[in-house]
């Protein structure tokens, strides 16, 4: 039987929430848990701004004829939707919210290696967000989140510079978070916690941090070059000076493809926590799943050229990037197979986090499989820059990452707030999101192969019905996302009090109270065995 070492629930125990309630205690905190919550609030706000932009886009696409005003507004809408969702929601969400909160606890540490740097990361994130909100308020930017030159540097007349500076600043927030996590994972593990006893969420955050640290600086310098070209009127990507617009694409995609792995890897980490916990069974092939995370981080840097197959790149380079793109698909396949094998002969229960995890497997597999279409050169020539690509990366980003974020949020909500969320409402929201999501994005695969280009405000009449279907799906999806926002806030006051280990998890964060004390553990736990061992129970205990 599990040796339940549930810390006795002392009534007025000092938790990280009750330690300070003033604004100062929140805005000047160096507690990784509070910084996680600060991030949660700011990325939720940014998600709403990005979501509103998406709503208007779907409304515009209800009718085929895009008028001139609609075109200008539409170009700004999809740019803001792209920039805010990529850099202000998808990249920070799991690492900065769930990672900040859970990583030190999973390692048995009192805090991250550099707490003040962690707080600085959040302030830098807020500074970047202010630049973007200023851009939105004063008229928007219409270059697309890819900022392709020479349009972004010489022909765009909108607020490009305030956007590039905003993204440049928020880049440093990711770099510093990545740096913090790498040093914390290397130097601050509890005694007995060897690398192969680390939970897989820590492995995926470590792999993500490697990408954050190696890729983001290149984006920084590229955006600075674009900003300089707009300010000084001379530039490096200007064909008149012998510059090559393709060079911008090389530098941009060198960052932006690893960036999509920054977005999905933490999601995979969350799923690697949820599947074993809710099937009460060790994860199948732990070392291979951990190795797959590192493989994705490394191979992810070799494939950026598949965004440029039709851009005028040399045929030889296209062949090389196509082959490597098939290689990078293999580690993701390994993970999906291992999750499925974990369910075999398990004891599976279907709480909300598990519904999100199972939904993730289905949607992420579909998204990943369509990636194989895009890696094949001939098919990519037809479907790149069409709605096929839009559907592909939304299946992975929304169907994968956001679903995993929701799953993780519900899974660790008792630990974060000390309260349980309403189970049935949670399941309802999960199913609504799954239904709305598929209705929104599956028609876009068909639109894509039909040839409807992306970033179009208007389209030929034969694409009308599929676009209306997609908009209908989007409205269901919006309702699906509104539900958790409501009942999670509701649960803060009225939610049932959560025990230290409501799911019977085995990782270290479940061995301390919910919500945990300010320094996480009464005394540093001694780790005796690996994670997901439902016979021996939690990894460490309080005797240490």
């Amino acid at each position: 039987m599990i040796v339940a070492t549930v810390a006795l629930e002392r009534p007025h125990e000092e938790t990280y929430l009750s330690v300070g309630t003033t604004a100062r205690s929140w805005l000047l905190t160096t507690d990784h848990k509070r910084i996680g919550i600060l991030y949660m609030v700011s990325i939720t706000l940014m998600f709403l701004v990005g979501g509103v932009a998406a709503t208007f886009m779907r409304i515009t696409l209800l009718s085929p004829g895009g008028g001139v005003v609609a075109m200008e507004t539409y170009n700004k809408l999809f740019t803001i939707h792209g920039v805010i969702m990529v850099w202000f929601f998808l990249i920070p969400s799991i690492p900065s919210v769930l990672g900040n909160f859970v990583l030190p606890m999973m390692l048995g540490a009192r805090d991250v290696a550099f707490p003040r740097l962690n707080l600085a990361s959040w302030y830098i994130f807020v500074a970047g967000s202010l630049f973007l909100l200023w851009t939105v308020v004063t008229g928007g930017v219409d270059t697309g989140w890819t900022f392709y030159t020479p349009y972004s540097t010489q022909y765009a007349t909108s607020h490009v510079v305030s956007t590039t500076l905003g993204v440049f600043i928020v880049g440093f927030s990711s770099i510093l978070t990545g740096l913090n996590f790498i040093v914390t994972t290397h130097r601050m593990r509890a005694p007995g916690l060897t690398w192969f006893r680390l939970p897989l969420f820590v492995w995926s955050l470590y792999a993500t941090s490697l990408i954050l640290v190696l890729a983001t600086p290149v984006l920084g310098i590229t955006l600075i070059l674009v900003t300089l070209e707009r300010w000084l009127g001379i530039g490096i990507f200007d064909p008149a000076l012998g510059g090559d617009p393709l060079l911008f694409q090389h530098l941009f995609w060198f960052y932006s493809h690893p960036a999509v792995y920054i977005m999905i890897l933490p999601g995979m980490g969350v799923i690697s926590e949820l599947i074993p916990t809710f099937s009460r069974k060790r994860l199948f092939g732990y070392t291979f799943v951990a190795g797959a995370s590192i493989a994705i981080a490394v191979l992810g840097f070799l494939v950026w050229g598949h965004h440029m197959f039709t851009a005028g790149m040399s045929t030889h380079a296209a062949l090389v990037f196509s082959m490597l793109s098939y290689l990078v698909a293999i580690p993701s396949a390994i993970k999906v197979f291992n999750w499925t094998a974990t369910l075999y002969r398990g004891a599976v229960s279907f709480e909300t986090p598990m519904l999100y995890a199972i939904g993730f497997i289905g949607l992420f597999t579909t998204g990943g499989m369509t990636g194989l279409f895009l890696a094949s050169l001939a098919v990519d020539v037809h479907v790149t820059d069409t709605y096929f690509v839009i559907a592909h990366f939304h299946y992975i980003m929304v169907g994968g990452m956001v679903t995993a974020y929701m799953g993780g949020l519900h899974y660790w909500w008792p630990k974060i707030s000390g309260r349980m969320y309403p189970e049935n409402l949670g399941r309802l929201a999960a199913m609504t999101i799954f239904l709305g999501f598929n209705l929104t994005f599956f028609p876009q695969y068909i639109l894509g192969y039909l040839g409807m280009p992306r970033r179009y405000a208007g389209y030929p009449p034969e694409f009308h019905v599929l676009n209306v279907l997609s908009t209908a799906g989007a409205s269901i999806l919006a309702v699906g996302y509104a539900l958790p926002l409501a009942y999670l806030l509701w649960s803060l006051r009225y939610g049932e009090r959560a025990s230290a280990n409501p799911w019977g998890g085995t990782t270290l964060e479940w061995t301390t109270s919910s919500p945990p004390p300010e320094h996480n553990f009464a005394h540093t736990p001694i780790v005796t065995h690996g994670p997901y061992d439902y016979v021996r129970g939690p990894q460490g205990d309080q005797r240490g």
């Binding site: 290696a113 920084g220 012998g242 060079l247």
Partner: protein, 216 residues
């Protein structure tokens, strides 16, 4: 003459168990930061490599306008500053405060000399009308790619100069802390960490010098 008057026992930060763990964390943190710096400059080195491949004649022409002597002297100055920084770290390890202050001051001074020489070079290019953009008055061959060469020259050496200025600021900060006896043989992590940063600035210049001044 033990110069170490135990100023005050330096306690490790709350999240660390002891000073060794703290120092190793700081060193790893700085090395990871240095990796980001290498990738930041890496983006510019990529642009340089591509344009050198596309416009070799223009780069040869551009390199001819460089003040080779100033560049070589500057390289020597920065290498010397690396030496004095390494010595400063050694003095800190041995807890010799006076030696630490001396070497830190000379490091900062050499940095300023470098910036001075660099400012002179920038001014001389300005005088020749070789500043890309509105101030460009050079009318020789390859006017297009030559502007790209000089844009790269100003961008890369400029970014390097900014990093050097930050470095000088940090070393000055160390001098202030050292005067307040903040560092002992047991605790001098900031000196080591800022030393690593300084040496990276030198390494970047070690590549910038041949790539801009010595194009055959």
């Amino acid at each position: 003459m033990a110069d170490i008057r135990v100023a005050y026992r330096h306690a490790p930060a709350p999240q660390f168990d002891d000073l060794v763990q703290q120092r190793e964390a700081a060193a790893l943190g700085m090395w990871v930061f240095l990796v980001t710096e290498v990738m930041l400059f890496g983006g510019l080195f990529t642009v340089y490599t591509v344009y050198r491949w596309l416009h070799h004649p223009a780069f040869v022409e551009g390199s001819r306008h460089m003040a080779l002597v100033a560049g070589a002297v500057n390289t020597a100055v920065l290498i010397a500053s690396s030496f004095t920084m390494a010595q400063a770290v050694q003095r800190a390890q041995r807890g010799l405060r006076r030696g630490l202050l001396g070497f830190l001051a000379s490091t900062a001074l050499l940095g300023v000399v470098f910036l001075g020489l660099k400012a002179y070079e920038y001014w001389s290019h300005y005088a020749e009308g070789l500043v890309p953009g509105a101030l460009w008055t050079y009318a020789g061959q390859h006017s297009g790619p030559l502007q790209a060469f000089f844009f790269l020259y100003f961008a890369m050496t400029g970014l390097h100069a900014v990093h050097l200025t930050v470095g000088i600021g940090l070393v000055t900060g160390l001098i202030v802390l050292a005067r307040r006896r903040r560092f002992t043989a047991a605790y001098h992590t900031p000196v080591e960490v800022i030393g690593l940063y300084w040496h990276l600035i030198d390494v970047i210049w070690v590549f910038l010098f041949p790539l801009f001044y010595l194009i055959g």
